[in-house]
Each structure stands twice: as C-alpha cells, then as structure tokens.
Symmetry: C2
Amino acid sequence: MTTFEANFTTGEYLNRIDKTRSKITVLGLDAIVVSDPSNMSWLSGYDGWSFYVHQGVILRQEGEPVWWGRGMDTMGARRTVFMQDDCIRGYDDTYVQNPEKHPMEDLSRLLSELGLTKARIGVEMDNYYYSAAAHRTLEQCLPEATFQDATGLVNWQRAVKSEREIEYMRRAARIVEAIHDRILNVAEPGMRKNDLVAEIYAAGIRGADGYWGDYPAIVPMAPSGMDATAPHLTWDDRPMISGEATFFEVAGAHRRYQCPQSRTLFFGTVPQKYRDAEAAVLDGIEAGLEQARPGNHAEDIANAFNATLNKAGFVKDSRCGYAIGISYPPDWGERTISFRRGDMTVLEPGMSFHFMPALWLEDGGLEITEPILITEDGCDCFCDTPRALFVK
Amino acid sequence: MTTFEANFTTGEYLNRIDKTRSKITVLGLDAIVVSDPSNMSWLSGYDGWSFYVHQGVILRQEGEPVWWGRGMDTMGARRTVFMQDDCIRGYDDTYVQNPEKHPMEDLSRLLSELGLTKARIGVEMDNYYYSAAAHRTLEQCLPEATFQDATGLVNWQRAVKSEREIEYMRRAARIVEAIHDRILNVAEPGMRKNDLVAEIYAAGIRGADGYWGDYPAIVPMAPSGMDATAPHLTWDDRPMISGEATFFEVAGAHRRYQCPQSRTLFFGTVPQKYRDAEAAVLDGIEAGLEQARPGNHAEDIANAFNATLNKAGFVKDSRCGYAIGISYPPDWGERTISFRRGDMTVLEPGMSFHFMPALWLEDGGLEITEPILITEDGCDCFCDTPRALFVK
C-alpha cells in the first residue's frame, strides 16, 4: 500500500489491469512478466531506481499483480505499489550481479508457486531490462512453460492517457517551459556548457507552478556548433561562443511523466541557411499539426511534415515523432507509435506525442519541437514556449 | 577520430584492446560484440546518450574495433571514438523501435562482411543493452556462428585503473565532496526535498576544482525518515522535518568516471539508536579498510566489516561494496567484484571500489560510505568528506 499520496487511485490501476488482461486473453497467454520499469509502474505504481537489478511485475488472468525484485527493494515496493504486502516478493541479495547464479532462478520458483509451471507466459523480449541471460535462465528453469514475446504489449495499452495522466503531463509541460525560459535568461557566449546544464537541471527539478520536478528519462542534451550535427552527445565545459547554434533537447518531468521539448539558441547574427531551415521546419510543423487529429494515421503527420520540408529543399530521413507518457531511463518515448512513413496507427483522443522534427545540418543542428495531445477534433500543444529559433 | 580533447591517448585504448584480446584468445573466441555502453566507451572512446537503441562495438582478433549503431549516431561516433571513420557503421532509421524488423539483422550482415559468419562470437548475455530479442535475432540470422556468453569479460579488464583513469576519479571525488558540502550548507527543516535535489544536481554538474561535472549514472537518492528504510526511492516535494534522518547517496562524475559517496544528515537531537548505529558503522569501516590491501580477497573486507557490526548488535545481509570506474545508467558499479562472503577476488593496486556499508533500520537509513583505491600497500580513500553522521 502506498504510504503517502498515491499517484493514481486503485480504481485507475484496476482499469489498466483490465485493459491489459483483455489483450493477454486475445494472445492466449496465462500471464505476463513485465520488466520495463515504465510498465511496472503503470500497472502497480512501483517507483524506484532499482531497475539496475532484475525485477518485474507478474500479471495473471486472475488476482492482484505480484511485484518481484531484490529483497532490499521490497521496502520501496511496500511504499509505492497499490497492492497488499503479500503481493510483494523479494529475492536474496546473493543473486545480485553474481555470475554463479541468476535472479531468474528465483522468479521461476515464484512462477511455479503461482501455478504457472506449464503456462504460456508473455515476456518483454526486446526490453532493456530483460536480458538474453534472463530469458535463457527462465526457459531452462521452466522447461514445460511456453514463453512468448510480449514486447510492447503493456506499452500499447498506455497510448491513450487518462485525465490524471494528462494532468501530470501538463505539469511537466509547465516545467519544460520554465527550463527554456531559464536557458534564454542565463545563456551567453563565454558561459561554460556544464554551468548552463547545471541551471537546466536545477530549474527542472525545482519545478514550476508549484509542482515538483522529477528526473527526466534522458539527461539534458545541449550540443553547440559541430557537436550539434550529432544528436546524442552530452556536455563538457567548453564555453559557448558567438556565431554558433546550440540545441536544447530537454524534458520536464512530474511523477515520472515526461514532457520533452527542444529549442535552438543562436548567438549573434543568424546565417541565412539557418533562417531557411527555421522557416522550413516551422512550415513543416504547421503542416504536421494539421494532420494530428483523431482518425488520421501516425504516418500522415510525417508525410505532411516531410513533403513541406522537401519543398523547401531540406531532407530528414529519420522519424519525426514518437509516443510519450510515463518513462524511466534510458528513453523518454513509449516505444510504440512513430511518426514515419508506414506507421498506420490510427490516432485517438488522449494519445500524446513528441513531434520531433529535428534537422541535423552539415555544420550544426536545429531542433524546434512540440509535445502534443490528440484531442476530440485535432490536437493541443502541451507547451506555449515561443515556436522559433531563439537568438541572443 | 575525436575532434576535441580525447579522454585517453590512442595508446591507452590500444593497451586496453590488447588486454581484452588476450582474454578473447583464452576463451577461444574469434570476436566479441560489446553492448554495455561502459565497455563500448572503454574500448573505443564512444560517448553519447544513444544506448536506448541497439548499438555495439565489435572487437576481433585483428584490426581496429568497429563501432556499430543507429545511422544518426555515427556523427557522434566520429566525434568521440579513436578509430578512423571507416570503422564506424550505421544502420537505417527504420530499424529503430520497429516491431517489423530488428537492428540485429543489420549487425549480422556486418558480422558476415567482417568474415564472422561461422565464427565463435562472445556476447554480453546479461547486459541491459543486450535484450533477449537481440540475441534471438542474431542467432537466427547467423545460424552457422556460435554465440558464447561474454558478460563481464570487458568489465573485468577494467578492474585495475590506469593513472589517467585514477586522475578522473580523483576529480570526481572533488565533485562529490562539493556536493556533500553544498547539502550541509543549504539543507534545513522545511526545505522541499526537490529543491535540495536541485542544489545537488547543480553542484555536481558545475563541478569542483575547475573540473566539470558529468552526469552520475544513478540519480541522487535522498530519502528521509521511513522512506529511507527503502534503498532506492527517489524524491518528491515533501519538506524535510526535524527529528528525521535523510541519507544522500550521490556521486560526482567526470568524463563518465563515477565517484559515489553517501552521507546521512539528521535534523535535531540524534536518538541513541542512531548514535549506536553510527559507532558500529564507523568501527566496521575501520575494520574493513584494514583489510583493503593487495593480496587480500574482496570477501575479507566484508567479513571484517560484518564481524565488527555484528559485535555491536547490528546485521547487514546485503553486499557492502562493489567495483567502480567508468559508467553509464542505470548503474554506477562495474558489476564484477562485490564485497561479500565468497567473493575470492584478489585485490590489486589500482582497483577502485565503493565501500558501501549502508544500514537500513526499521525506521530509517544510515549511509556513511567511502570510495577507495587499492594502493601498493593498503588503500586510499578518494574523498576527505568528514566520516560521521551529520547533524544540523
């Protein structure tokens, strides 16, 4: 039982479980073992930085979910999950990072105890926290069980957000607005990049509008100049300089819900090429947002964006958006829907995305992005950060 | 080629590769595919927050390592790895988080091109970034190859640190000292926990002694009171109160090298029970440090610590330390040596550990920990943070 303010009512968790069980039934599974921390949290409320050891939530066709993890983390489970304490099971510390044995030996005993020795069990084959060794051990220990890939099964149930989830994302949106505001206020040529990242972290964790900031599932990305031709470099202490663009790919977070948004800041006189890129991206965003409405497909947004971009002479060959919501490192996306050609997912009210039409040019990067919510008749941008290339 | 100051000389990378190849030979392998971002960085210099997609470094018996990852991340690889650009290979963006296909299909083509179609290939079966699906796909695409578990193979080569690595850890030590100093200065009853975490982040990223702070591989942990009975809860906005202990499990980081250290802060009059626990832990630390010298076993430290602790009437049933060095989320440990009974690893000069004798009591937690370096004739503590329960 949660011992302080729960993030969601027990009713909401039970709804999520019902929804997930329907899918489990359709797939002919008896149970799923969920290793993705986002899915564990969404189904049970569990929250803690313990995903560096093997853990999971077991959901059967009947009964409460069972939290399973390292013995010492049962204390954190008692304080965060909605279930009673007898649904929390821990394994001995000697299983931790010990090549002589594997925690999945313990899980297989628990699965047997739960009557799943010969069951059809879904596992998240392509999740960070379900390793090849975990799978091999489970298969060896439960030779009569059948394991089936259930990667994304729970993630897909998360696509349409509840009112409370949307509220948390709106709070996170206030926080990412505050981060961009802070960047604009304090960034200047000569400032060490790490000092600016310190400001970004502080603003993000302090929060905004009275709501506290949680940790983003990805660290702030803030590369300048040529470093910004690469999407995922982190910072060092080189000072920012005039005549360079720096993009800020950052997220506000509240109760693990993530609201990422990027902006780009140019010091000095903006070269025409950047102005052209800015105009192309802004037009492309407008064209994409036009398509962001219920009934359309995810690819419609990408196609509209890309067509507009290409007309202006720019090309982007990577996806330009993905689903967002609750998340843990290393990714703030939901790993389901992508804005790219061929993604025929039908958009529904309550789905939330990071529309992420970043351009990486030959001498820098331009990121102007929008977190969006699909509404009854179109879409809302979560943030009101000015949509432009910032210049200082 | 790195385009700005490289973290290590090419000579140092080549030494690491030689060391790793000897082990590959002993195991009868033709190559290893390394997915652990820490191992990728240690072997090639690669640095970037791109480990949320499949990527790796391939090391064969001959030739330079090959960096392989998402197409857009080849730009970051060009800016961080020591190898020439023709050793950097990217895959198409349509492979990213697409259930229709798997990036390992692309890797298997590359492995074939490298002459490894029928090779014996080591893979890191129990790493976060080598999923069950990744392994299954590789096995399916290269049916004539033999895959062998090489979890920890590279991690073990990292155990003894070079002078430059130790220098980076010392810089990280200055940073974690600065973090604890900042906590002591600003923490007070009534302060929202997230505001204190904002200060921790800002101090850690600003750095110390002129050295910039990198991101820690685990977020700051700072639970108070009953929350501190659980080791891995993160923060919210509840204010700190008098009469409660808060432990701060934080790390300084520099160029991805991690120096974790924990301290505990009590507001008000310390109950005798906490004083007793403090005395027991401090005595236990002294006893453990006595055993931290070349030639002794890792378990000797744990046994000395536990014997002292037990004499004082306290019990700790989890490991009390682990190897540290370069790291990426979700863990700042090296996942090799543990201070616990049965770990017979012989200590050598240059090995570095987080001696982590945390006590979780029934109504709170007490963490007073020391990052240490094994020297020629004993050990050095990396930090000079006062070793005591802090009271304010």
